[in-house]
Subunit: 477 residues, 2 copies
């Protein structure tokens, strides 16, 4: 008799696992339950869809439901909400939400192996007015659809009785907006770009004193300066108290001000979906996400968790961390698929690596940069920040790459880095060198001697990463 | 009494050593002899100077002789040709070539520590006619100056009685030229770009069957295709027999053809300058360059060699290799300076990493790609080549990154890689990830799990480097 592998959740982790398991073991029966209609989509592309650089939501889908069913022979059941797991009986119960009665109903599906890949949901801050019209989050394809519709409607003048205005509008006085964005993380910044490009006057509210708080202060400052150059109004250290208005949102009320807006986007982070797991007796870890071992197996045998609902071990601290990002979901999902198909596969730790484009800048971060966090992990962190040319000084074009590098004083071990440059000048791809250093527990003295590629159109003889290592190495010596 | 550190050669390795030694130990007396007038210049920028993207040779100089003398307190003596080393007496003999009699003469300079940093010289192939007018090499600043003058003179019509024609000329029928380039390495390809951009009709002669032979075949093919797109005529597998002409060169004669040219650039590699070392009893290594230990010390105590005249240990093979490139010269020069100033410093191995821009493409290579070379080093090489999007498939712009990754079958160790993409799409900076993997003896299975940065404007969820690791890992499993 063939085994059945049941996957709950049809996005990155779930579909990677399903595809890999079926490819490695074609005899395996693979059933995927997905609550919505969309599967295997690139949620990271949603801001660019809202911006208008991507023309259709379908483009974000890497593999269609039909392809999964017909070409990959996966029993994919969209519109099926899994409401319970019975680990003793090894079954899941799914409710079909189809509008046609014949398809609706409850399914009880036995499993031999189960993967929870239910993802995360946008956090809505506990303030009044978040349920008003005109308040959006950006976590799902339908969120993206609604936002794009809002942008198209407003830009075409339906709400404001103004003629169609293109991206150039933000340089004119009669701009669209104003709109508010709450939160200065990836989503907040990418959406500031998306909305400003469509002519909206954007105010970004950030509770802390800087945007991109997971990056270095130097990166945050460079991005903040650039946002201001792009006419985004930054309200740093602003606690949002309430979203007011009659029906639609009309103002963002902070501790000391009231700013008129026509729309608000909440970009205040995500939290793992854990209800289903908790109900089934699956343990959560210290981060509040589902705990797993190195093979993504939970405390229940043959029950795995991967992607945005699960935590993973941090490369530098060795402790559980919750960093819900696309690559981890893909990698860990794929590892679970491979494990279930018979080849136990770990899928690796996470280094908290992330990249973001902010208008004409690009930034990346990896590892541990924050000194408090590093000390909590038993390190004595030392950081240096350097500015270096992105190309040889004499080579046309290019700009500055700012690198913050953090290492442990005693061992010299590289702990983390944050980089920022103009878009196209390589801050993000340069972070690849540091990720390797984190994974391999490289010291800053070893990193300094990395034989990195050099030619005048690409860097200075010492790449900015090496300059940072050299300077930090000097400090540590 | 203070020690004296004598440096022979005032370019990357020499001036890095001099500067670092003096900075770390200001009491040290530092004397540098440089045969020519230029010091500390970026020879890698010469093709861009000839192209016209860099306006003056001075721009290529990172620190001027005056700055070395006045600000860094280094006794820099340009126009001084060191003709002998006496290791028993610990002296060097230099001949000053100044035209004013008072400055000319012979100097005998004692040393406590000596660094040979005399660099490499362009190889002139042993064929007839290389001494004709119109035959150039590109190794030194004066070579660059002559070539730029040739380009300016020809473009302005002095030699051809044609009006000034800009880069667009190569799309017209009455193009400048034709010119020949012998050698399809970095210099050959960069100069093809430089000359074509100035309206010359370029034919590139390559003895082997592909350009950039140190790169993977896939990279070579991509670059060759692109050169042809840019109207460079490639003559692969063409053995050049002779350069003929009355006074100036008029034709390149190959084994089966005779191609009319008005100018020839020889880009047939470089060889280490070793005469001075050999005369002094300094041993050469198996590569024919000066042999050193990990601290760049030669067989003579307190006599070091670094930069393009010396060999170094290869990261992957553990054997001596000769890869004369700028970063190594800087890094090893600096390490010698630090060692001489009292802190013994190794400066690290070399991975044979190199980058090149070829018109609108960029390419990088690192480690061991060639299977014969890998087998000679005791590995059983397996390679895979993949094409991947440089940005998310749905994100505007971008192109293809082609990655060739080589690993050892038994251990899975990553041995080398070759990458190519459009310029600006990150083949070169992505190679940084592989360099780390080589230095740390990472397996392809570990590389596959590197938590590299991802966002749609920068890569697919699995960066092309990870895709290559995944595919190669699949082959090895």
């Amino acid at each position: 008799m063939t085994d059945t592998f049941v996957v709950v959740g049809g996005d990155a982790a779930g579909m990677s696992a399903a595809s890999k398991a079926k490819r490695d073991d074609p005899d395996l029966e693979v059933v995927v339950f997905e609550k919505g209609e969309w599967v295997s989509y690139g949620a990271c592309g949603l801001p660019y869809y809202v911006k208008g650089e991507i023309q259709s939501l379908e483009t974000l889908v890497s593999v269609t439901p039909e392809e999964f069913r017909d070409e990959r022979d996966i029993d994919l059941r969209t519109g099926h909400d899994v409401v319970a797991i019975d680990p003793d009986e090894q079954t899941v119960t799914a409710e079909s939400k189809s509008e046609s009665d014949s398809d609706s109903g409850t399914v009880v599906q036995p499993y031999d192996h189960l993967l929870l890949a239910v993802g995360a949901e946008a956090v809505v801050p506990p303030i009044d007015g978040t349920d008003r019209e005109g308040v959006y989050t950006l976590g799902s394809m339908s969120d993206g659809k609604e936002l794009r519709e809002y942008v198209a409607r407003t830009r075409s003048g339906e709400s404001l009785q103004q003629p169609d205005r293109g991206p150039a509008c933000r340089y004119l006085e009669d701009c669209t907006g104003p709109v508010g964005i709450v939160g200065g993380g990836y989503i907040g910044i990418e959406m500031a770009e998306a909305l400003a490009a469509n002519g909206f006057e954007v105010t970004l509210f950030q509770r802390g004193d800087r945007v991109l708080k997971g990056f270095s202060e130097a990166t945050s400052e460079a991005v903040a300066d650039h946002l201001r150059e792009e006419d985004v109004t930054l309200r740093l250290g602003a606690e949002v108290w309430e979203l007011t208005g009659e029906e639609s949102v009309e103002a963002v009320v902070t501790d000391d001000d009231r700013i008129t807006v026509e729309m608000v986007l909440l970009g205040t982070g995500v939290r793992p979906r854990t209800g289903l797991a908790e109900d089934a007796g699956i343990e959560l870890g210290p981060t509040g996400a589902v705990a797993t071992d190195a093979y993504r197996e939970t405390n229940l045998p043959d029950v795995y968790a991967a992607g945005d609902c699960a935590e993973a071990v941090h490369t530098v601290t060795g402790e559980p961390a919750y960093v819900p990002l696309a690559l981890t979901a893909n990698r860990h999902g794929r590892a679970v698929g491979q494990t279930v198909a018979g080849t136990p596969t770990e899928g690796g730790d996470i280094a908290g690596t992330a990249a973001v484009k902010a208008f004409d800048l690009e930034a990346a971060r990896t590892g541990i940069i924050d000194h408090e966090e590093a000390r909590a992990a038993g390190y004595e962190p030392v950081s240096e920040t350097i500015d270096a040319n992105s190309r040889a000084g004499y080579y046309p074009g290019g700009g500055t790459v700012t690198v913050t590098l953090t290492a442990d004083r005693d061992s010299g071990r590289v702990l983390g880095a944050s980089l920022v440059s103009e878009y196209g000048e390589g801050a993000v791809h340069r972070s690849h060198a540091i990720v390797g250093a984190l994974e391999e527990e490289t010291t800053v003295f070893e990193l300094e001697n990395y034989d990195l590629a050099y030619a005048p159109p690409f860097n200075t003889t010492w790449d900015p990463v090496l300059v940072a290592a050299k300077v930090l190495g000097g400090t540590l010596r």
